[in-house]
């Protein structure tokens, strides 16, 4: 079989080929075509990760109310009760399935710091970072004013852990960089192999601060929230 053309690579990566046996045979023998397929799949994944938006719970509730409430008010109550059960179940399930160890968070912290593009929004203050999260996270959280403290907000991004969106804010103190993770599901606490960390819950959200600074610094920062 000769090299794959652009359309074959695309259709293979998109899972649109009914019979892919011949193509898979060729991919086993041809590094150039295999690379092209990997690149195509990588682009798909990158687009998916970059393009994801999350609506707020407020909007979801409003739409649900308008969709259900207008026609059958009694059904809305039943649906709300059922939804509460389901959501409760999902949150419980998600809590079990997500970020089970503090080590995972420490790894995430280290990976982000080592990344060439650690944050998606750069900041000189909370007024650029907080609005950026709107529509990208299903919840909102307060980014405190840090002017007049030794800390400064560097930027933010959304990270995904086990299918759950987690707000990430990078905070600087001198030459050190700290990570703040915020999620609706409980985030793990505990030993992080050399990184200090402080964990707390507020208004139904889980916060974790991670960094290679003394614990007292993290406590001082925490007090701003």
């Amino acid at each position: 079989m000769s090299h794959l053309n652009g359309e074959e690579i695309q259709r293979y990566a998109d899972g649109e080929l009914d019979d892919a046996a011949a193509i898979e045979q060729h991919l086993r023998d041809c590094a150039a075509c295999a690379n092209a397929v990997v690149a195509e799949m990588q682009l798909k994944r990158a687009v998916r990760d970059a393009a994801r938006f999350m609506p707020s719970d407020v909007l979801r509730a409003r739409v649900r109310r308008r969709v259900v409430g207008g026609e059958r008010p009694w059904a809305w109550m039943a649906a709300a009760a059922a939804a509460a059960l389901i959501v409760g179940g999902l949150v419980a399930a998600a809590a079990v399935g997500t970020l089970t160890s503090a080590r995972e968070l420490a790894d995430l912290h280290a990976t982000i710091l080592a990344s060439a593009n650690p944050v998606d929004v750069l900041s000189t203050g909370r007024h650029t970072v907080k609005p950026w999260f709107e529509g990208r996270l299903p919840f909102s959280f307060n980014v405190p004013e840090l002017a007049g403290t030794p800390f400064r907000i560097i930027g933010g991004r959304v990270v995904w852990a086990h299918g759950q969106p987690v707000g990430y804010v990078m905070i600087g103190k001198g030459g050190h960089k700290l990570s703040l993770f915020v999620a609706r599901v409980p985030l793990p606490a505990g030993g992080m192999r050399g990184f200090e960390n402080v964990t707390w819950r507020k208004d139904g959200l889980s916060y974790v601060l991670v960094g290679d600074v003394p614990r007292s610094d993290l406590e001082q920062l925490r007090a701003r929230f």
Partner: protein, 164 residues
């Protein structure tokens, strides 16, 4: 028992919101668009035939609602020259690996795509729709889905090359 509108429609909520956000490029307009879509779909639910693709039907309503809005009409203007079909690429394309970490550059590249390319890319890569489903949602032939998707990805790659 057949499923109610709510049972069918609410699970699509995050997807429809994300798509609306990419069509409008703005959070508040996206919220309005999603709400209007649900109300229209609810009113038209009687005409929805069971057994046809509900997800494609919902996306079609959202898109048509957007296209008849002011910003939708604006984004459709001056598109004619974009849609002249390029000759399909024959032969093995050069391999460009995408740096996954650079989310902001990628988002800008998607934003910069003309609407017909942006929407096939989002429906394929974010919503994991099949070409057939995309063709139903956008009311275009499957062949057009294939060629637009190819051109969308080529443009995104070119845009990312530019920022390297």
């Amino acid at each position: 028992m057949s499923m109610s509108f709510e049972d069918l429609a609410m699970p699509l909520f995050p997807s429809l919101y994300g798509y609306a956000r990419w069509l409008t490029g703005e959070a508040h307009e996206a919220e309005d668009l999603v709400q209007e879509t649900y109300l229209k779909a609810l009113r038209g639910f009687g005409s929805f035939r069971e057994g046809t693709n509900f997800r494609a039907w919902m996306f079609r309503i959202l898109r048509n609602t957007f296209l008849t809005s002011r910003s939708g009409l604006r984004s459709m203007a001056s598109l004619d020259e974009e849609l002249v079909e390029e000759i399909a690429d024959i032969g093995t394309p050069e391999t460009h690996f995408v740096n996954r970490a650079n989310g902001e550059a990628l988002r800008r590249a998607i934003e910069g795509l003309p609407l017909p390319f942006r929407e096939v890319l989002l429906l394929s890569d974010v919503e994991s729709m099949s070409y057939k489903e995309i063709s139903e949602a956008l009311s275009i032939p499957v062949g057009t889905v294939t060629s637009r998707l190819m051109r969308a990805r080529r443009r995104v790659r070119t845009a990312l090359e530019g920022v390297r």
